[in-house]
Amino acid sequence: MTSPIALLPDAQLRPLLDAYEASVRSRRWHTLLILACIAVAMVLSSMSAEVSLPKLFDNIHRFPSYVLRLFQLENGRPVWTDVAEWFWGLPRWLRLLGETLLMAYVGTVLGAIGAVMLCFFAAANVAPSRWLRMAVRRFCELCRTVPELVFALVFVIAFGLGPLAGVLAVAIHTVGALGKLFAEVVENIDMKPVEGITAGGSSWPVAMRFGALPQTTSNFVSYALLRFEINVRSTAVMGFVGAGGIGQDLIEAIRKFYYSDVSAILVLIVITVSVIDTLTSYVRHRLIGLQEKH
């Protein structure tokens, strides 16, 4: 393609190019240094993680063949030739999937209730005491740093196998995650209503209920919906440690090499998760729209 733009003569272009080179050179060194650091970190961690490329290349063909095998029935035919056979356990899986959704729901609601109660004590602008604020913040941090599955493992010992342990694990994690987000929401509110109510002589709980809470509700609900979406995903694997839901059947199918069952359950999970995703994002956009209208 011929360029329609007239280029400067070489004598004039040279100093400009040199200046560009000079200004880019130091940044280029900077980038190289960072890349070198990352490379060193990669090599060190590959050594620690026992990465062996020969092993990967020897076995990588098994990944596609494993995935393909997932979509074959026991008689070697592809799954879609006999959908009834593929989804032979549909009633049971749907029941377990329903249980998973209920677990996620209860976990999210209980966690959100806990977080709403805690967040006013953790927000810098309304917290009644500094020490209480620090304590509540640390508690939330503890709840969300320990992975849900670890809580589930401990709760399975205390409450026995079953969904109860899973729900409580999800709820505790949700308290931690939402407590932090809710506190940030409260920190961003307009303080004037709270001041007005306090100036009118009412107590702290009343000021929170009528001054702070109305400003935060739509954000709270929006974050809780987002969390529900995340919790659906994590309750789906609670069964891996015996804490209820569809995970129990999934891990059994994977461990015992019931290939077509694995793919059937995964397909059900993927469909459920994307339906929930779509629904919650629709509701959340409605909520945000509502908030902007006011």
């Binding site: 060190l44 990465v51 990944f63 609601v109 320990v146 694997v237 440690v241 994307s274």
Partner: protein, 285 residues
């Protein structure tokens, strides 16, 4: 006291009737929704055995278990050494998985971004596959990779990589779509091709955002990496699950304590790096 300045309540009521209505339409819907949510909650709790006495009995046992967990005690130094090396392995898994995912997700993100990829079919397919990857949990990926490369930390790193490709692909493509079009137009108008436009027009703009997201995920992946050992994919999770299953409760609490302590400096360092990359703007969602 209200008596000091007389308010003609009836006049106010006449002027603003809507504020004196006890339940207006909006309020009614909200109350109905809350009641429905509460009914569903009670139904679900009943279905999940909340009300048949297991909860109370379990609470008692839970208190007992927490009592047995304290104080954290690894038993001896040999265990401390094993746990520390497993913890390092966990961090290595997380770092490796996150970086590999970032490298692999970048091209996919360009394919899924509306302002780069004009073909709707390509965009649709890459988005759907990213969504599918995202909706499968990291533990499932770990189990699948264990079948491919065998037990061990390598499977864990690959699992984190796979799960994060989905998330990064989505986040990166959103960042790319939010980028300003003008630098690209400028470059294309001076004769640079589409590729040069992406390289000099878009990458410099989105790179800080992407880097901060990668750092943020390194942090949260360290937490996920600490549990994938439960399914045999390396890291400290193996020892944690073993300690819980064999009821070595003091060791359990020691391992949890180690994980918590190791997350703190990672949090701090990646937070500082993030601020250095994007300025004091806080977390980029």
């Amino acid at each position: 006291m209200p008596a000091h300045f007389p308010v003609d309540l009836d006049a106010v009521r006449g002027r603003h009737p809507q504020h004196f209505q006890r339940f207006d339409r909006r309020r009614q819907t909200v109350i109905a929704l809350a009641a429905a949510a509460f009914a569903l909650l009670v139904f679900a709790m009943d279905q999940l055995d909340f009300f048949d006495g297991k909860l109370l009995k379990g609470m008692g046992r839970l208190v007992e278990i927490i009592g047995l967990m304290l104080p954290p005690d690894p038993k001896d130094w040999a265990h401390v050494r094993i746990f520390s090396s497993a913890l390092l392995e966990t961090i290595a898994i997380s770092l490796l998985g996150t970086l590999m995912a970032a490298v692999l997700a970048l091209p996919l993100a360009f394919l899924a971004a509306r302002n780069i990829t004009a073909q709707r079919v390509v965009r649709f397919l890459s988005r759907r596959s990213l969504d599918t990857i995202r909706s499968v949990d990291i533990l499932v990926w770990a189990l699948i990779w264990v079948n491919v490369v065998g037990l061990g930390p390598f499977a864990g790193a690959l699992a984190i990589m796979t799960a994060d490709i989905g998330t990064f692909g989505k986040l990166f493509s959103e960042a790319i779509e939010a980028a300003d079009r003008k630098p690209v137009e400028g470059i294309v108008s001076t004769g640079g091709g589409q590729l040069l436009g992406v390289r000099f027009g878009i990458i410099p703009e989105v790179f800080p955002v992407l880097a901060s997201q990668v750092l943020y995920f390194f942090e949260s992946n360290t937490r996920s990496a600490s549990i994938i050992g439960i399914v045999g994919a390396g890291g400290i999770g193996l020892y944690l699950a073993e300690a819980i299953r064999t009821l070595e409760l003091q060791q359990t609490s020691f391992i949890i304590f180690m994980i918590l302590v190791s997350v703190v400096p990672i949090d701090y360092v990646s937070g500082q790096l993030r601020f250095a990359v994007i300025g004091r703007r806080g977390v980029v969602a």
